[in-house]
Every structure is written in structure tokens, then in C-alpha cells.
């Protein structure tokens, strides 16, 4: 930095311009997180006795571990559903005219910008006892009594998948747009069928987009407090609600801090696994 004569360096701006935001983040983002870590390392609410008690409590408590496990599993299920449904959208996007492209992109974008409470509320209307699915199945005579769809794992996964779909689809559209369409033709003219071309050429080359989409979807799905609590109901507990209950209802801040740190670390671990995979896949795609 600053080795080039100042008179020639007109295309970049000094790092000083980043100082206000860096300072803001230091005070209001880094400092609170450090305080969270500090408090989590105390055994009592008054924060007088240092110790790993909160973490030991969490890691030896079957209930806490099952909450963590079901949260991570939920993220994986939602990510998978988003990938299976989102990839065909991105594929279709690259093969239609500009007018349809705009329509597809706006359909994908709209939920991203619509209030998450509204989107979740919509799923209550759809999945409820008198909801669309039950009403339709009953009027067709397929079922006699309403199915229980709300307050089930299935309901949470499908609602979260819809809520987080844009986060998966947008990076996939970008990634598929970067693939040379000639590769597709070359593969087909060399005798590989469409399915084989898809799995051997298109899918591997779009891996950076797949991984970017999976990272965003996973991180968003496991922290989606509103959708989890409204669709999952009282019987299903995931990490965000667990954290909120401990902090707000029970006022057990040290334990809530430990939950936060464990949750943060779990998210960071998943993100770094995805990032490593992304780096490897980029090497693959360039080969």
C-alpha cells in the first residue's frame, strides 16, 4: 500500500475510507461477540467464577445435544430440497428467451424481498387443518380426516425450502450462465446422452455455484427463527428458539452465551467445509 506515487494512483481510494465502518464493526459487532464469549466462560450468572461449566452442561446434556443435532439435520434437509428444486429453475432460466428470463428471475426474487413472517403465514394457511392441501384431499375423497402437516418436520422443511429458495437459485443461475454452451453440444455430439451430459459436464462445472448456494441456504435455514417456531410449533425445538428461551424467558445469560458460541462455531464449521469444497471445485472446473 502507498508505494506508487500518489499522483499516478487515481483509480483506487485510500484504506482510510474503510476506517469508519471498521471502527463501527469493532465496537458494535466484534466487541459484543467477544463479550458473549467471555460470559460463556463463566459458571454463574453474576460472571464471577471462570470455568467451562456452561459448555460441559451443554455437551453432556442429551436434550441440548438433540436440539443441536436436529437443527443441523434440518439445515441439511432444507439445503437438499432447495438444490433439487432450485437447479432445474436455473437450468430452465438459461434456455428460455429474455422475456421469460425476467419473469423467472422476478418470481425467484420476490420471496427474498417479501417479509419472512408473511411467507411463513402463507404456509400456515396452506398446511393447516382447514388449509388448501387438506381441503383439496378431502374434497377429492382421498382422506377422511385432515392430515397433520403443520407442526411436523415435513412442514418445517417445505416452508423453509420455499423461504430460502432464492438464496440457492441466484448463485446457480450465475454459475450456469458462465458455462460455455458449446461444451453441452460437444458432449452430445460425441455421443453422451442428455442425462449423462448433465451429470458429467453441467453439474461439475456449476459446482462453485452449487456450493455458494448451499452455504447461504444452510446458514439461513438453521437460523430461521420465525419459520421454525411458527411452522414447527411448541413441540419442535431448534437452536435459535432454545437460545431465545434461555436468554429471554429464563434470563440464563451465561448458558445462552454458550449456546450462541456453540451455534456460531457449528455454522462456521459448516461454512468452512463448504468453502474448502468450493476452492477444490474451482480447481476442478478450471481443469
Amino acid at each position: 500500500m502507498g508505494t506508487a506515487p500518489a499522483s499516478r494512483d487515481v483509480t483506487s481510494y485510500g484504506m482510510g475510507l474503510a476506517a469508519p465502518l471498521a471502527l463501527f464493526f469493532l465496537v458494535f459487532f466484534v466487541a459484543p461477540l467477544l463479550q458473549l464469549l467471555w460470559l460463556s466462560l463463566h459458571n454463574d450468572t453474576a460472571a464471577l467464577h471462570w470455568g467451562l461449566g456452561q459448555y460441559l452442561h451443554f455437551l453432556t446434556d442429551p436434550f441440548s445435544l438433540s436440539v443441536l443435532g436436529s437443527t443441523l439435520l434440518l439445515g441439511a434437509e432444507v439445503t437438499l430440497v432447495c438444490l433439487v428444486l432450485g437447479f432445474p429453475i436455473a437450468w430452465l432460466y438459461q434456455r428460455v428467451g429474455p422475456r421469460l428470463q425476467t419473469i423467472i428471475i422476478l418470481i425467484v426474487l420476490l420471496p427474498l424481498l417479501t417479509s419472512v413472517v408473511v411467507r411463513t403465514f402463507a404456509w400456515i394457511v396452506i398446511l393447516g387443518r382447514q388449509g388448501i392441501i387438506n381441503a383439496t384431499l378431502q374434497s377429492l375423497g382421498i382422506i377422511d380426516t385432515p392430515l397433520k402437516l403443520l407442526y411436523t418436520q415435513f412442514g418445517v422443511v417445505i416452508a423453509l425450502a420455499q423461504v430460502q429458495m432464492p438464496l440457492m437459485t441466484l448463485p446457480l443461475i450465475t454459475a450456469l450462465g458462465r458455462i460455455d454452451p458449446n461444451l453441452d453440444d460437444a458432449s452430445c455430439s460425441l455421443g453422451a446422452g442428455s442425462w449423462r451430459t448433465f451429470f458429467r459436464i453441467v453439474l461439475p462445472l456449476s459446482l462453485p455455484g452449487v456450493i455458494a448456494g448451499c452455504t447461504l441456504t444452510y446458514a439461513a435455514a438453521i437460523t430461521a427463527f420465525i419459520t421454525q417456531s411458527l411452522i414447527g410449533g411448541g413441540q419442535m425445538l431448534f437452536m435459535p428458539m432454545y437460545l431465545y428461551q434461555q436468554a429471554s424467558t429464563l434470563q440464563n445469560w451465561p448458558f445462552a452465551s454458550a449456546i450462541s458460541i456453540i451455534f456460531l462455531l457449528a455454522v462456521l464449521a459448516v461454512v468452512s467445509v463448504f468453502t474448502t469444497l468450493g476452492r477444490m471445485s474451482r480447481g476442478y472446473g478450471g481443469a
Binding site: V10, F28, I89, L92, L113, V118, V125, L170, A219, L243
Partner: protein
């Protein structure tokens, strides 16, 4: 391999993938349409299809002063958080966009990290910090908390707009004797303005919709709209919320349409 078999195979592939894509698009759009239709019901329940249509729940919404109060708070906080995000975020984006130094890349990761880290954990942490320094929860603490989670959108979109900027434009301007400030005002700013507006728009929408941070940083005096709606939904299924959802959906569609015109929002998010 016969030509007919190949064609059949290609058709089966295209058929399957198109059908899945169409189903996925329906799943994405259906919930908003369902809520929109239910909000015009003349009945007392969220039954679909509604027994009849009326505007009664929209009229009801007119008198829901608790929702008005929460909506006003959410709007004020979102506006301030967006302004703060734009001022801090654009300056930071200018600094880090063309720099390849380690410090620039580290700062970039720092500024982007609120996008992946659980916002609820940050909300709790911020509450603990504010109570430590003796700052009670208020619109101010909400604006600060929202800015942290909204500024990444401004930084990201501004950096992307700056990356598209031809450096030769800035050099030519300098050669022709323009000062840095003049070049910024007359060349850089007009060219990156759509990017800044797009980032500010997404920041505003995400602040207006924020729950995890608001959950910890508000109190009864600073009730926020998404939390008010969430708590109403936890209690009972109120059709007034459907009408409010209808208003929010229509407002979002209108804003997205305007933003698409002004900034080319859809291209920005797929490049």
C-alpha cells in the same frame, strides 16, 4: 446408437427437468398468491378458497392502531439504518474494492460476516453490550443493531458496481485536470449509483423485516412490525394479519418493479 433413441433420451431429460422447474416456480409463487386471495375473504377464517370476497379485513386494518404503531417504528428504524449503512458502506466499499492487500480482504470478510453468522446470537451479544455500558434499549440501539446486519448488502452491491468501472475513465479524468473529488462526483458516483441504490433497497427491506436483532433490542415502547405480526400469529390466526400481509406483498411487488426499472435489480443479483 440410433437417432430415435437419442432423441427420446433428450426429450425425457428436458421433460423431467422442465416439469421440476415449473413445480419449483409454483411452490415459490403460490404462498404469496394464496395469502393475497385469503386476505379478501368475507368470512372469519383463513379457509381457502374463501366463502366470499370483501374488503372488510382491509377496513379492519385501518383501525389496528397497534399494527400502525409497530409499522411506524419499523419504518423509522429501517430508514435510519439504511442511511447509516449507505454512508459507512459506500465509503468502505471505495476503500476495499480495488485493493488486493491482505487488510482489504480481511476487512471484506469482516463486513460480510453478519450475512452468515446467526443474527440471533449477535442480537443477544449486542443487548449484553448495551446493558453493560448502561444504554437502555431504544430506537438508537435498534438502528445500530440493524446497521450491522444490513451494511453487508450495501458494501457488496457497491463493490460489485465499482468492479465494473473502467479505471481508464478515472485516469482520463485526472489527465484532463479534474480533481479527485470532482472525478468522484461527476464520473464515479453517477456510474455506481444504481449499485448503491440496489444495495440500499435490499438493506432497507432486510431491516424492515428483521426479527432476530429486534427481538433483543426492542421493548414495548419500540414494538417492531414483524415481531408484532409474529406474536399475533402465535396467539391466534387473525385474518387482519392476512390483510396486512396483502398490503406488504403488494408494496413489495411495486417496489421491486420500480427498482428493476431504476437499477436493473435482477441482473445485479445474478452477476
Amino acid at each position: 446408437m440410433s437417432g430415435r433413441k437419442r432423441t427420446l433420451e433428450a426429450i425425457s431429460f428436458e421433460f423431467v427437468i422442465t416439469v421440476v422447474a415449473v413445480i419449483a416456480l409454483i411452490i415459490i409463487i403460490a404462498p404469496s398468491l394464496v395469502v393475497l386471495i385469503v386476505s379478501f375473504t368475507s368470512g372469519f377464517s383463513l379457509r381457502f378458497p374463501p366463502p366470499g370476497y370483501s374488503l372488510r379485513w382491509y377496513a379492519e386494518l385501518w383501525n389496528a392502531w397497534q399494527l400502525h404503531f409497530a409499522a411506524k417504528n419499523s419504518l423509522i428504524v429501517a430508514l435510519w439504518a439504511t442511511c447509516l449503512s449507505v454512508v459507512l458502506g459506500v465509503a468502505a466499499a471505495l476503500a476495499i474494492s480495488r485493493s488486493r492487500t491482505l487488510s482489504a480482504r480481511l476487512l471484506d470478510s469482516l463486513f460480510m460476516s453478519p450475512l452468515v453468522l446467526p443474527a440471533l446470537a449477535f442480537g443477544l451479544a449486542a443487548l449484553m453490550l448495551f446493558s453493560l455500558v448502561g444504554l437502555p434499549v431504544s430506537p438508537l440501539t435498534l438502528v445500530i443493531g440493524h446497521t450491522v446486519v444490513c451494511v453487508p448488502y450495501v458494501v457488496r452491491n457497491t463493490v460489485a458496481a465499482l468492479a465494473q468501472l473502467e479505471p481508464t475513465l478515472l485516469e482520463s479524468s485526472a489527465v484532463l485536470g479534474a480533481s479527485r473529488l470532482y472525478t468522484f462526483r461527476r464520473i464515479v458516483l453517477p456510474l455506481i449509483r444504481p449499485g448503491i441504490i440496489a444495495g440500499a433497497f435490499i438493506a432497507f427491506m432486510s431491516s424492515f423485516d428483521n426479527v432476530p436483532v429486534s427481538l433483543f433490542l426492542r421493548d414495548a415502547a419500540t414494538d417492531m412490525l414483524p415481531i408484532r405480526m409474529w406474536q399475533d400469529l402465535e396467539g391466534k390466526l387473525d385474518v387482519t394479519i392476512a390483510a396486512l400481509s396483502g398490503v406488504l406483498i403488494i408494496a413489495t411487488v411495486a417496489l421491486v418493479a420500480v427498482m428493476e426499472r431504476v437499477t436493473g435489480l435482477s441482473r445485479r443479483l445474478t452477476n
